[in-house]
């Protein structure tokens, strides 16, 4: 297995106090929490932080971790020395840890048994837990519907209360009209029931992959459409891409930059469907030739135009 440098993950020296570890963790957790972070690798970073903190916040586990020595670097091949957890009360992952150490990740092999969930002393018959997962789809997928094969790592709790991750593959139809943030409920695909209890449900939270042209606002789709100054001023017929293909539309005469033109019902399908908003973005041609410069000069002479007229008033 690969060694993990928990101090480096939290960005602290090995000599810091427990209080400083907590502070470093809290600060980074706010930065990388998947619900608030804009970082693309937030989910992974947040998980790593949680793992590092779980070990280092506990003085005993921290001491055991420190005992592994300082010569290791993250990602380096690593075998725990025999009885490395001797003398500590938490006791590591147990006898099988060594045998399967290569297959497990660092935390699980070293501290595995401590991560186990408490065995629930629930009723003998109960509905299984609902499970959640996030699924990324393209905006185009929600216009047509899509079929996706999804790999999920689902936590499974055995009779002793140990948690392990089980890989599960599901073929799912993503229906037309799904919006970002909506959940798809797959009845009975969640955790197994207790006793004769029914299985829980699996909820897939849908999010759209970032699109180079389209933005999404609820059921509406937004597109920035570049137009030439004369198209905005004089009006034009233009061809506009939508997630569902090209459409023809008219730019009205006398349009200002930033004007929003609505293509009713061309947003995300539904009842009612969303709208597609085309936002005009006036693009200036470069004055990179003599005729182009002459044209700009002609404009200057033709207009009595002061763009800063209201700036000083």
């Amino acid at each position: 297995m690969k060694y993990k440098d928990y101090y480096a993950i939290l960005g602290v020296e090995r000599t810091v106090t427990q209080e400083e570890i907590k502070r470093a963790y809290r600060k980074l957790a706010r930065k990388y929490h998947p619900d608030v972070s804009g970082h693309s690798d937030a989910e992974e970073r947040f998980k790593e932080l949680g793992e590092a903190y779980e070990v280092l916040k506990d003085p005993e586990k921290r001491a055991a971790y420190d005992r592994l020595g300082t010569q290791w670097h993250s990602g380096e091949d690593f075998q725990p020395p025999p009885n490395w957890d001797e003398g500590f009360e938490f006791s590591g992952a147990g006898d099988e840890a060594g045998a399967h150490a290569d297959l497990k990740d660092f935390f699980e092999a070293m501290f595995g048994s401590t991560r186990a969930a408490q065995t629930r002393q629930g009723p003998s018959r109960a509905t299984g837990q609902d499970h959640h997962a996030k699924v990324l789809i393209d905006i185009e997928d929600t216009y047509r519907g899509a079929q996706r094969t999804i790999s999920l790592q689902l936590p499974v709790i055995d009779d002793q209360g140990h948690v392990s991750l089980q890989l599960r593959t599901l073929n799912v139809s993503i229906p037309k009209g799904m919006r970002a943030g909506q959940h798809l409920r797959l009845a009975g695909q969640g955790g197994a029931g207790v006793g004769a209890g029914p299985a829980g449900d699996l909820y897939l939270e849908i999010a759209f992959r970032a699109h180079p042209r389209f933005r999404v606002d609820g059921g509406d789709v937004l597109l920035d459409l570049p137009v030439a100054p004369w198209e905005a001023a004089l009006g034009a017929h233009v061809t506009v891409p939508t997630p569902d293909g090209l459409v023809e539309m008219t730019v009205p005469m006398g349009s200002a930059g930033g004007r929003r033109l609505r293509l009713k019902g061309k947003g995300i399908p539904g009842n009612p469907p969303g709208d597609l908003y085309v936002i005009l973005n006036i693009v200036l041609p470069p004055a990179d030739s003599e005729p182009a410069k002459a044209a700009y000069n002609a404009m200057r002479q033709a207009f009595n135009f002061d763009p800063r007229a209201r700036l000083y008033g």
Partner: protein, 105 residues
Amino acid sequence: MKEFEPTWLAGQIVDEGVEFTLVELSRTSGASAEEITLWVAEGVFDPKGAGPQEWRFSGASLRRARTAFRLARDFQINAPGIALALDLLDEIDALKTGSRRSPGN
């Protein structure tokens, strides 16, 4: 649990047409009924119905409840803090989309 399902599973979209009771929302989101009740008091959700027994939450509440649940769990945020955080997240979302309608359009 089967390793492979040969057919395409069809799901149900949890949209405005779906309603959750307090017990159902708690079960599905992972948040306790007590937490959700405190969030309702802060205006995080606006369920239909007079009291907790009759409350019906719209399908769109699920996402908010999930986010609230994770934030409360991971940062130990109390109910007013959750309400503030969700409002700010909504605002950030709106700013990112540039969805503020300019007047007159």
